[in-house]
């Protein structure tokens, strides 16, 4: 099975072509671009396909990161993935950024549970705990920093992601404290996912931040 993996959930914009049978990332393309994902994604996909000597017609599945991360970035990737899936007649699956970060950390310390913790700004963080085999121990959630510090004070595993520094004094050597996904991991998790779980859908973990306008109206008799 050939998987086309897409990640636009953070500042990076990446595409990868992965052969699930060989468990090998054939090629990837992309960069940490900060912004402009909508403009550059197609070119990175073209490059990854060309470098892997594959065509879109060879792709059996689309895997895309669904967040948490930039709301806009997530939607760029998810919309593209669902468009590809519809036009190619192949399934698209979503991969959580927290799961991808945890899977990367597991490669460094395979025997330990992982807490993936991303800085969500506003004194909050996105976090999720995974067993050593990648099975989620908790749901992905958004937690206030102070609460997280209490909750995870005695955590028995390794911590990864940009919020690591808020939770532990000494990060595990070799474990990433960035929120950038490894596109090969995204592809592998996508290959292992079950398409029957539905189309990729953004994992925002945070509401749209709007206030009700009640109280705007003049008083009625």
């Amino acid at each position: 099975m050939i998987v086309l993996a897409i990640d636009t959930a953070g500042t990076g914009c990446f595409a990868g072509v992965y052969d699930a049978g060989e468990d090998r990332l054939l090629a990837s393309a992309g960069a940490d671009i900060g912004r402009g994902h909508a403009e550059q994604l197609m070119a990175f996909i073209d490059q990854a396909l060309a470098d892997s000597d594959r065509a879109l017609a060879d792709v059996d599945r689309i895997a895309v990161t669904i967040g948490p991360g930039s709301f806009t970035g997530i939607r760029v990737g998810v919309a593209a993935a669902r468009g590809f899936a519809l036009a190619l007649g192949v399934p698209a699956v979503g991969v959580s950024v927290l799961a991808a970060l945890a899977a990367s950390a597991c490669q460094v310390r395979p025997e330990q549970a992982v807490l993936a913790a991303m800085d969500a700004k506003r004194d909050e963080l996105y976090c999720q705990v995974f067993e050593a085999d990648g099975t989620p121990r908790t749901d992905a959630q958004i937690v206030e920093l102070a609460d997280a510090q209490i909750r995870f004070a005695g955590f028995d595993g390794i911590v990864c992601g940009s919020a690591t520094r808020h939770l532990i004094a000494k990060p595990t050597p070799g474990v990433s404290q960035a929120d950038a996904c490894d596109i090969g991991i995204v592809a592998r998790l996508g290959a292992a996912a079950d398409p029957a779980q539905g189309k990729p859908s953004p994992l925002y973990l945070r509401g749209p931040d709007v206030k009700s306008q009640a109280g705007f109206a003049v008083a009625r008799a």
Binding site: R75, P202, S212
Partner: protein
């Protein structure tokens, strides 16, 4: 290129998620083969207006299913489509991104050209789909996001004669409704309330009336409505009805002046060359009966045909986007590259100047 064209259209610039397949015959006639619109009215109603983040979230969940449905209803497969047209501006950037990225991916996967369509061009060309209208003609776009008088000269050739310098007309209706505790969207609610109201009870301002330039302004009217309402609060049902009726009257008189001048200008500019001048109305506010009566009367007086496409083609839809793509393709205009960026601001008229308040980023639309 003037073959028979089938175009898939995608529209996500505001609070309607829409997909459509439109056929353009070689002779220029058009037919809507499949058309699906999912309104997000419910999601936004408690906020009294469109919330961009809520809109973007809804678009990404619904769009691919709607495209599938539009193709199904049209009885065509993606491979039988000649091009994909997606709205790429102006509008809410979160929604535009969803539609444009879906369009790009589908274009790349199917090998079809992508047309990144200006939403306003969709409205501008609709009358050619519905009525086969010949160029040139005048178009009045009155919606929640836009209030523009546009001279439609040819495909891709437009002159913005007037635009709002502050609020859009539909926005003025929405804000009036919100102030008076009427439901969203405000247009139908205000119109309903106005039916039993006295249009002469309040004398609201008619901004820019008498000015030679053809622009619009509605924020002063909004303020006057608020002050009037607050001065008599708590308001009774009759007060609300009277405010709504007076508000509509002020708008009607403003438009009579503004559009009247536009019609005269059109006649002067095309004296002798256009036998049957026409005014086309588009946008959700086109549903307002008082506005329609005003425009009809103006057109009758000035010898214009008044063309109001069916309401579902006046409000946001994807058939107009597909049609604009078809017209562009048939005219031999180039398709867009897949690095095309969505543009929250994108005036139809490249020469349109930014009006006061729109700053360095240029004209909004």
């Amino acid at each position: 290129m003037s073959a028979r064209l089938r175009i898939l259209g995608i529209e996500t610039s505001c609070d309607e998620t829409a997909a459509s397949v439109v056929l353009r015959e070689e002779d220029g006639r058009g037919e809507i083969l499949g058309d699906v619109v999912l309104s997000q009215l419910e999601e936004h109603s408690v906020y009294g207006g469109v919330v961009p983040e809520i809109a973007a979230r809804a678009h990404v969940e619904a769009l691919d299913t709607l495209i599938e449905e539009a193709l199904l209803r049209a009885g065509v497969t993606l491979s039988q489509v000649d091009a994909i047209a997606a709205t790429s501006g102006p509008g809410l950037i979160g929604g535009l991104l969803v539609g444009l990225m879906t369009g790009k991916a589908m274009a790349r996967a199917s090998g079809k050209p992508l047309y990144a369509v200006n939403h306003l061009e969709g409205h501008a060309l609709t009358a050619r789909l519905t009525d086969g209208l010949a160029f040139p003609y005048l178009m009045l776009l009155v919606s929640g996001g836009h209030t523009q008088l546009i001279l439609v000269k040819d495909i891709g050739v437009y002159e913005r004669w007037g635009t709002t310098i502050d609020d859009a007309l539909g926005e003025a209706f929405d804000k009036t409704a919100k102030l008076l505790g009427l439901p969203y969207p405000g247009g139908p609610a205000v119109e309903r309330a106005a039916k039993s109201g006295n249009p002469d009870r309040f004398s609201f301002p008619r901004p820019l009336v008498g000015e030679a330039r053809l622009d619009f302004s509605f924020s002063g009217l909004k303020t006057a409505v608020r002050q009037a309402a607050q001065s008599i609060a708590p308001v009774t049902e009759q007060d609300i009805a009277d405010i709504c009726a007076s508000f509509q009257k002020a708008i009607s008189r403003t438009l009579k002046d503004r559009i009247g001048r536009g019609l005269v200008r059109f006649k002067e500019q095309f004296a002798g060359s256009v036998e049957h001048p026409a005014l086309v109305v588009a946008g959700g506010v086109a549903a307002n009966q008082v506005l329609r009566a005003t425009l009809q009367e103006l057109c009758d007086k000035n010898g214009f045909r008044f063309i109001a496409p069916p309401l579902q083609l006046c409000t946001d839809n994807a058939a107009m986007i597909a049609w604009a793509g078809a017209e562009r393709m048939a005219a031999g205009l180039p398709a867009d590259d897949l690095d095309v960026a969505p543009r929250s601001r994108w005036p139809l008229d490249a020469d349109a100047k930014a009006l006061i308040g729109f700053g360095k980023r240029g004209a909004k639309a």
